[in-house]
Symmetry: C2
């Protein structure tokens, strides 16, 4: 796998922040072992958990793959383990050189984003349903 050539391994520890929402996204991560939580903040007031990654192979920090290269969420280690770290510039070069790989990476990612979007819509539906029922009760 050519991706392995540009990936470095790192240990992660519980409570360790890997990146913060709103900051420049320079690295993409792949979970090897342990658990990582993706979080957003509501007006800096409180944390809204988005998802918990536990499956080895789960990717995160993928906002680094496209413009404007800014993390849309924060990532915190929830359970110690290890991750693969890929610098965005290295991956970009690889994708430019190897269009087959590029197409596969982007297709898999789009599929993943579409699923996340569907999940989010499902959550929104639940909210609207509650709202609707409150208004009509």
């Amino acid at each position: 796998m050519r991706l392995a050539g540009v990936a470095g391994e790192a240990k992660i520890e519980e409570e360790q922040w890997l990146f913060q929402e709103g900051l420049k996204a320079e690295k993409i991560y792949v979970l090897k072992e342990g658990a990582v939580e993706l979080i957003t903040r509501v007006d800096g007031d409180f944390e809204l958990p988005i998802s918990m990654l536990r499956q080895p192979g789960n990717c995160f920090g993928t906002s680094a793959l496209v413009e404007p290269h800014v993390y849309s969420l924060s990532a915190r280690c929830a359970e110690g383990g290890s991750i693969l770290v890929i610098r965005q510039g290295d991956l970009h070069e690889l994708i430019q050189e190897d269009r087959d790989l590029g197409c596969t990476v982007m297709t898999n990612w789009a599929e993943h984003l579409l699923n996340r979007l569907k999940d989010n819509r499902q959550q929104l539906k639940i909210h609207f349903k509650t709202l609707f029922q409150t208004m009509h009760s």
Copy 2:
């Protein structure tokens, strides 16, 4: 543009349904003129508007691009005009043949999905904030 070779043009009329959520996604659409509304249904009870497309070049029905090829929303014409219709199979063939084009299509789409996901999270945040304020008032 090679995409033009596999696209057919069609007129659309106000109130016309283009596709329904949950059905097999066999076509991808590009808006040329007019307006198209994307909608989801909450438990079949009421419609939840997701977005209104007005810009020529706006794409929709893009769920057809990846597995499981099922529309995640419904689309209804809100203002008469015209659309380009691309059969999923034709686009898939083109993407297999021309990896540069494939990479570009998938990257643009992923970028678009990421933006939609951010918008949705923003909406969810507003809901949670309201909930939070209600609980603490």
